[in-house]
C-alpha cells in the first residue's frame, strides 16, 4: 500500500515536472532549458531537500525507466520513414561513427591515464559515448564499475547536447548529416532527441550513428585498452 502510494507520487510528480519543463522549453527554447535537464534538476532539488533516497524515488521511477526499452525500439519508425534518404548516406554515417568511436575511446583512456586515475575508473569512463545499457555491458566485461559507467553516459549525453551548438559553430558543421552524426556518435539517445528537434532526417541520421557507435564501441574497446594501457 505504502509502496504503491510512493510509486504513484513519484510517477505523477515526474510527469507533472516534465510537463512543466516542456512548456518552459517551448517558451524559452534554449539548450539549457531542455526538459531532461530542467526536470532532473528540479527532481534532484526536491529529493535532496526532503532527504528522499534515490531508491525510494525509483519505486515509481522504475516504471518510467522500463519504457526506455520500447522507446529505443520506436526509433525504428523515423528510420523507416526516412529509408530512401538513408540508403544514399550510409557511407558518410558509418565513417563518421567509426572515427567517433576511435576518438572517444582513445581520448577517454589517454586523458584519464594522464590525470592519474586508476584502471577501474578508466574502464568505467571509456564507453561513455554509447547508450546506457551498452556502456554498462562494456564496462562490466572489462571489470569496471557499472553504475559509474551510467553516470559518465549521462555526462556525455547532457554535456554533448549543451555543447553541440558551440561545437557546430566552431567547426562549421552546418549540414544536417554532420550534425546528426555528431550528436548520435557523441551523445547517444540524448543527442538523438536533440537532433529530432531539428528535423526527422537529422534524428534518423543520429539514430543510425548511435546504433553504429554502440556496435563499434563494444567491439573496439577491449582491443584499444590493450593497446593504450
Amino acid at each position: 500500500m505504502m509502496n504503491s502510494l510512493i510509486a504513484l507520487l513519484s510517477i505523477g510528480g515526474t510527469l507533472v515536472i516534465y510537463t512543466f519543463a516542456r512548456q518552459l522549453h517551448i517558451r524559452a527554447a534554449r539548450t539549457f532549458t531542455l526538459p531532461v535537464i530542467t526536470s532532473t534538476f528540479i527532481i534532484l532539488v526536491i529529493l535532496l531537500t526532503f532527504h528522499i533516497p534515490y531508491e525510494t524515488y525509483m519505486i515509481g521511477g522504475d516504471w518510467i525507466n522500463e519504457l526506455l526499452g520500447p522507446a529505443v525500439v520506436a526509433l525504428a519508425y523515423p528510420l523507416y520513414q526516412q529509408r530512401d534518404i538513408l540508403k544514399q548516406v550510409m557511407v558518410p554515417i558509418l565513417c563518421g561513427a567509426l572515427i567517433g568511436a576511435i576518438v572517444g575511446i582513445s581520448t577517454g583512456i589517454l586523458l584519464a591515464r594522464w590525470a592519474g586515475f586508476d584502471e577501474l575508473i578508466i574502464y568505467s569512463l571509456t564507453p561513455k559515448s554509447v547508450t546506457t545499457p551498452v556502456a554498462m555491458a562494456v564496462t562490466e566485461s572489462l571489470g569496471g564499475i557499472t553504475p559509474l559507467a551510467a553516470v559518465f553516459v549521462m555526462i556525455a549525453g547532457i554535456g554533448g547536447v549543451l555543447m553541440s551548438a558551440g561545437i557546430f559553430k566552431l567547426f562549421r558543421i552546418d549540414h544536417y548529416l554532420g550534425r546528426g552524426v555528431g550528436l548520435g556518435s557523441a551523445s547517444h539517445a540524448m543527442g538523438t532527441a536533440k537532433a529530432l528537434e531539428s528535423s526527422l532526417v537529422e534524428g534518423s541520421i543520429s539514430t543510425i550513428a548511435m546504433v553504429f557507435s554502440a556496435i563499434l564501441v563494444s567491439i573496439l574497446t577491449p582491443g584499444m585498452i590493450l593497446l593504450l594501457m
Binding site: 526538459p35 526536470s39 527532481i43 534515490y54 525509483m58 521511477g61 522504475d62 518510467i64 525507466n65 526506455l68 526499452g69 520500447p70 529505443v72 525500439v73 520506436a74 526509433l75 525504428a76 519508425y77 528510420l79 523507416y80 558518410p92 565513417c95 563518421g96 572515427i99 567517433g100 576518438v103 572517444g104 581520448t107 577517454g108 586523458l111 561513455k128 559515448s129 545499457p133 551498452v134 553516470v151 559518465f152 549521462m154 555526462i155 556525455a156 554535456g159 554533448g160 555543447m163 553541440s164 561545437i167 567547426f171 558543421i173 549540414h175 548529416l177 554532420g178 552524426v181 555528431g182 556518435s185 557523441a186 551523445s187 540524448m190 543527442g191 532527441a193 529530432l196 539514430t207 550513428a209
Partner: protein, 124 residues
C-alpha cells in the same frame, strides 16, 4: 478514446518487440542490448511488410515526441555519485566533456566532408 486505445496497443506491440530483442540477446549471448536488437528487428519487419507501419505509428510518434521523459529517472541516479566528483574527481567530468566534444566535432566534420564530396560533382 479510440485513439487512446490505439496508442496503448501500439506501445504494447513495441514492448513485445523489446522483449523479443531481450530474448535474442540472452539466447545468442550478444553484447548489443535487447532494445537495440528490437529496433533493428522492427525496422526489418517494417521493410518486409510483416508489420504494417499503421500498427505502431501513433504509439511511436507519441513516445518519440516525449523521448527525453524516459531518461529522467536514470539521470536522477547521479545523486548517488556526487561524492566521487569531489576533489580531483571533478577532473573526470572535464575529461568526459572534452572527449565528448572531440567525438562530436571529428565525427561531424568527417561525415559532413564525405557528404559534401558526394553532393557536388567531381569536376571541381
Amino acid at each position: 478514446m479510440l485513439k487512446l486505445i490505439k496508442i496503448i496497443m501500439h506501445i504494447i506491440i513495441l514492448y513485445g518487440i523489446y522483449l523479443i530483442g531481450n530474448w535474442i540477446q540472452v539466447a545468442l549471448n550478444l553484447f548489443i542490448p535487447g532494445s537495440v536488437i528490437g529496433m533493428v528487428l522492427l525496422f526489418i519487419v517494417l521493410m518486409t511488410n510483416i508489420i504494417k507501419v499503421t500498427w505502431i505509428e501513433e504509439g511511436s510518434k507519441l513516445i518519440i515526441n516525449h523521448l527525453t521523459l524516459f531518461f529522467i529517472p536514470a539521470t536522477v541516479g547521479v545523486m548517488n555519485y556526487f561524492e566521487l566528483f569531489k576533489g580531483n574527481g571533478f577532473l573526470l567530468v572535464l575529461i568526459a566533456l572534452l572527449s565528448t566534444a572531440l567525438v562530436m566535432a571529428l565525427s561531424g566534420v568527417i561525415s559532413q566532408w564525405l557528404m559534401r564530396r558526394k553532393e557536388v560533382p567531381h569536376d571541381e
